[in-house]
Structure formats: C-alpha cells, structure tokens
Symmetry: C2
Subunit: 304 residues, 2 copies
C-alpha cells in the first residue's frame, strides 16, 4: 500500500565504524538519510530514498519501519555491498577524521522517487552529490525544499551545489562549510554572503556545541543555543538529526517563517542533543515526543 509521506528524504545509507573517546563501534547503522529519517520520525511520516546492498542487516530495516519510516524508496542491490565509512573523533569532537570510505552501492546511486513520494509537501536533500540532489528537485518542483551539504561537495562539485542552493527554500550548513564555501573567516559575514547570493528563505548555520544561527531575508537573524551536554559520546549524524527535528516541526506546524523558525531550530537542536549521547542512532531507540518537547522547553528557558 502506497502512502504519501509528509517528507520525502534522500541521502546516504551506511554501515559506520566510529571511534570516539568512549570506544569503537563497528558496522553500526549510519548515513545521512538514516539519521534524518529517524530524527524526523517522531513528528512526521518520512519516505526514505536511499540504496543499500544485500549485506544491510534486516534488523536495521526493521528498526526504520518500527519508527514508521516508509521504505518503498529504499533500493536493495543484490550481490552488492552497502556504503561503509569509518572515522574517529579523537582529535576533535566537532570534526571527524575519516579513516576509510567505501562507496560500494552508493557510487552508482541514482535516486528513484516513488510516484506517491513526489506528492510529499516537503523534500529533504541530505548530503549526496549535488547533481543527484538536483535530479530529485526537478521531479518535485512544487515541494518545500530543504538541503544540506558537506565540505567534500563544496570542493568537488561547487557549480552543481550552487544550482541546488538557487532552487531550495532552506539551506542547512555547518559553520566550517559556510566559511569554506564563502572563503570568509567570519561566520556572520559568511552567512550574509550566502543569503545575498542565493536568497533562500532561511539559512540555518549549525555550530555544534555553540548552537545555531538563523539567517532570514532583510537582515533577520536569530541565535539558538545548544543544549548543554556534558558527555558527547558520538557526534556522527548530529547535523542530519538537527535537520530531522526542523523538518519534523515543519510537518506539524507548516513552513518556516520569522515567527516560528526559532522554535523549529529548537526541535532540531533537541534532536541533535539526544543523538550525540550514544553511538549510532541508539539514543533514538526509546525516545518519545514527550521527552523531545521537554527538551525544547528547556531550550526555551535556557535563552529566555
């Protein structure tokens, strides 16, 4: 039975081996589409577009299904292997050192969008090749489009990335990416440059432990603090989980505007803050919307 999801999300599906000061976890569930979808699932019905090999453990697809994530858009390539990434955060909890990337099925990924997914109001483009992001955009021209990216594509596929930025309603980036993209060491100046150049409705700049900045049109700005977290066990996927919280909020409350964008970012912040307290997506396994809303309330108090 085909459903129309609230959000159609496209991104990577991975098996990650991650080392932090709290240990090493091997071949755990990861990938931008996974983090995003799991995070958004507490507020919205997500249709996931991604690709895995037939080595992808059934328990992982079961977990995604348990969270109400629709997997009609998940392609399973027989006789092939899932994308694998390994990295560590021993030097810097905010930035991974990549040890090994094996693209496997992800190397030839061509997102195929089920017809019903095309009717989703909201589209999230996680960090995949900008040319693939664009192909998805072209098939969902009327959707509310939010994109993320990563440093790798800023360097290797800048022209295509710029075309994506021109087409989306909301751009999500982290601080280092914004500085790299604009070649500008001051983050405020970098944010303003991106707004001037692409004029999205909003630019959400993630600063990890330092929270987020929101840039809107006509000089509109907001700052949202991070949730104070003493033990960051594994930061992998925090950015995608942030986006999941934001888009989950949008699914429940409508598109971003100057009145609600701060609250939306608080949901994103809350989701990121839960995620980093355990490896992989483990912190989402037993999370509830009630606990998320408690944390959003704590974030409201924190900056009041």
């Amino acid at each position: 039975m085909s459903i129309i999801p609230d959000i159609t999300a496209v991104g990577s599906m991975a098996l990650d081996t991650v080392t932090t000061h709290y240990g090493t976890h091997e071949n755990c569930l990861g990938g931008s589409a996974v983090y995003f979808s799991m995070s958004a699932s507490f507020q919205a019905k997500v249709g996931l577009i991604g690709v895995v090999g037939d080595d992808f453990p059934k328990e992982h697809t079961e977990l995604l299904k348990e969270h109400g994530i629709d997997l009609e858009g998940l392609e399973v390539v027989k006789g092939a292997k899932t994308f694998r990434w390994s990295g560590s955060y021993l030097n810097d909890v905010n930035a991974a050192d990549t040890h090994c990337t094996m693209l496997n099925v992800f190397a030839t990924f061509e997102p195929k969008i089920p017809e019903n997914y095309k009717k989703a109001k909201t589209l999230f483009l996680a960090n995949i090749l900008p040319s693939l992001q664009m192909k998805v955009i072209e098939q969902m021209p009327d959707s509310y489009k939010v994109c993320d990216t990563m440093n790798f594509y800023i360097n290797s596929a800048r022209d295509e990335l710029e075309k994506v930025f021109e087409k989306v309603n909301v751009i999500v980036m982290n601080d280092g990416e914004a500085k790299m993209f604009t070649d500008c060491p001051n983050l405020i100046a970098a944010g303003k440059k991106i707004m001037e150049r692409f004029s999205p409705e909003y630019l959400l700049l993630k600063k990890g432990e330092h929270g987020s900045l929101v840039f809107g049109r006509n000089g509109f700005m907001k700052a949202v603090p991070a949730f104070p977290t003493e033990r960051v066990i594994d930061p992998t996927g925090a950015g995608d989980s942030f986006a999941g919280g934001v888009l989950g909020f949008i699914a429940r409350n409508g598109r971003l505007n100057d009145e609600n964008v701060t609250e939306a970012v608080r949901y994103g912040t809350a989701m990121g803050s839960f995620l980093v307290t355990a490896f992989s997506i483990d912190a989402f396994r037993h999370l509830t919307l009630e606990k998320i809303e408690e944390r959003v309330e704590a974030l409201r108090f924190l900056s009041k």
Copy 2:
C-alpha cells in the same frame, strides 16, 4: 572631594601595541582596569585602582575622567614606566599571541584602596595577581565581589586563585580558562566542576563570538548569544568590557539573581560587541547609554 563609587575596580593599566588584520596600533590605551572602567562608566560611577608610570599620557587620564571614572585610586610612580604589552591576533581572532610584556611599574604594584572606595557596594577584581586580588578582598569583606582571571595565573598562581574563587560572589572566565582550570575538555562539565568546587552565586563563561554561558546554583543555566559582528577589528579587552557591562547593570539594578542575570549578561555582551569594532577603547569614546540599550534590545530579539 572624595566620592563613594558604585564600583571599586582594580586591575592593570597599560600601553598596548596591537596587531590585527586591520593594522597595528602602537602604545594605545589598554589594561584590564581601563577596559572595565570605561565599559562600566556608561551605567555606574567607577573608582579605579591601578598604577602607571609618569610616561602615561595625560590625554588618557583626561579621557577616563571625562567618562566620570574616579582616579583617586590611580597611583602614578615618578620616574618609572607604565606596563606595556604587545601582541597580535593574526593567527586567531579569539586568542592573542603575546610578543612582549614589560611589567615595569606593574611588577611591584600594591593596590592601595582609598577609604571611600572601601564603601563601594561592588568590587571588581580584574586579572591581576591573585594574591593582590586577595589583599583587596580582605579590605572590602562586605562588598559584592566579582573576579576575572587569565590563563597565566591559572598556571602560575593556582592556589591563590582558588582562595579568591572561594571568596567571590561571581566568577567571570573565558572558555579556554575554564577548560584549563578544570582540565576538562567539555565546557559544560568544566562549568559544573567550578560551581561544585567553589559554589559562587554565578559563574559567567565567555565564549567570544559564541556568546556566554551562565551557571548558577542548583543546576541553573542560561545561554546568551553574541551580538553578530562581521568585522572584529581588535578584540583586546573584550572580556573586561563584558564585565564592565555586567557590573554596570548591577550598579543600576542590584545584585544578580536568576531573574536578571541574563539581562545583565546582555549588557556585558553589548559592551564587548561595541568594543571590538575599533582599536583600544576607541569604540567607547562616543558611545551612549541609548545605543547600548538598543543593542541589548537587539540581543533580546536575537534569542527570543
């Protein structure tokens, strides 16, 4: 004619040579007591305790007087030279590389507190030797005490610094100092450690461009964003200017409590954000309380 200041402040008086990406300024007015007093002067009457040589330009003392700063506590040592510091921010706008420190009269500084200064309600101890901070504390046992420090004293005078921390109502530190002091890479954990160990009423942790964190008792916390600043011309003295804004607020509104501490930190944040837009204290020359309050209002909006 002797006056009772709102705030008695003790700290360094210096002639600084500062290099940033915006140029080099030689022998400009600096020192923690200067930045603090100039900043606080927009809201409070400050009595300044410090020492200079007779090479200290008269125009500098005139400027301080014009801002209503009482200089009865300023010692001028004849035939001696003022403390000089030179440094640059070419590598990192958040941390100076010190090129040269000539303590001169500051090496043998013994703060002498005029009797009327001892009656001030509030005492600010800028970053001087902790043993000197303690001597001042002992002479003003009933005052509301706020102290700052710096990495140098954390390493060189830790025992004395801990004694100071035990005696003050409010501790002001920057993020790097808090991490160094507690040997704790996570800032939230570092802040909690300092609260547990010394139990001040509040700990204000400055994070430069990332704003500030407030730690109170019983787990109370607040986060205040920085004012978005595109051009940081010279960050020297931003921390002391922050403290000046906070203590100016206290002079007008009373001691910090859970209700007003965020607003007090916004005044501190506003003062720091003005200061960094020019070399030395130049940004304070033509500032008005009206402009300060406009910026505080902008900071309120930023995190609302």
